[in-house]
Symmetry: C2
Subunit: 187 residues, 2 copies
Amino acid sequence: MLRVMARPTPQTHGEILAAAARRFAATGYRGTSLQDIATEVGCSKAAVLYHFANKEAILTELMAPAIEVLRSLDERITEQPGPAAAQRVAAEGFVDLAVRFRSEIALLRGEFPELLQQPGFVHIQQISERLIDAFAGQSERASARITALVLLAGIAETCGQFADVPDQELGDALLALLRRALEPPGH
Amino acid sequence: MLRVMARPTPQTHGEILAAAARRFAATGYRGTSLQDIATEVGCSKAAVLYHFANKEAILTELMAPAIEVLRSLDERITEQPGPAAAQRVAAEGFVDLAVRFRSEIALLRGEFPELLQQPGFVHIQQISERLIDAFAGQSERASARITALVLLAGIAETCGQFADVPDQELGDALLALLRRALEPPGH
DNA sequence: CACTGATCTGACCGATCGGTCAGCCTCTGA
DNA sequence: TCAGAGGCTGACCGATCGGTCAGATCAGTG
């Protein structure tokens, strides 16, 4: 029976987070089991659940910084005086968020719909609806809303795949795309 | 013990397909179990597996028409004389495909990455890479490829959510978006 | 009547999932 | 020296997954 060395580790918490991030990025949230994470860390599954209440708690802790920025962006948008200003702030803020947190967003890997319905993420849904509103220039026109949703989902879905592109270049490209593609408010 | 009525059913095959489509659209491929489908049909899970070799076979049969159209679009694109023509054909063809098969695409629900790696779908990956090439005007510039991927993924990811928008209106909106957003070939 | 092939069922399989639990080890400080 | 706390383990749990299988039921055929 192997006796594992006495570990000095309260840093295990952080190691689990980092390992979980790698696994989620590789195989998605649902596609990653607690055992996968434990194996990557080199500890038991029970150790993972000693440091985190459950699987979802790992994800929420990983996403916390990005969610905080998203929430503050939401506030800034609602403070804007008109649809044009709101659209501009939303575009710039969302691009900045997508670029800065692209690795975190990448771990969701298309599981947005399911994850948004998990208990810890319900309010994100409302925020994303307000983001679409802002992108669409508060218009109810179908074409404006289609454009907004396609761009929002497209950026969220793909920004994690450009790990090799520098922040500045990725941000410029996305912002230029939004400026070209978004319809100016006031049909 | 309930004795189920004698069913006249060779149409069960079709019923299973329709039920699977509803369940996949509601909870995704991975989020739908064979038992879910069987319950929706009103038969046993074993009956589902009598009509289909396995779970993936249900999905491939559901997607077959859309995949056939995608394949023929791929052929048409490669036949084009230059990047500009290829980009135009790709944009129009992809929008047409997204609109016509939006309900089928919707059942993938963001599980593209995983599903593309299943045995029956490997060639789709290559086709989608050629689609991105065409969208980007065969350019290697990062901004062109970012734009292409965002639009492609955005449309694929969202087209299923506009079930209430008429084909014509949705197609026009998407095509207008692509014309605005895609960078013309020849940097 | 007997037989056949298509259809379908319930019981079952091994694997894996997220999560629980009793208890062991090591370190610390009184 | 020893109690206790923090950190961690292996064994285990119930649930669910995709898939298998022997056999029951039926319509059609001769």
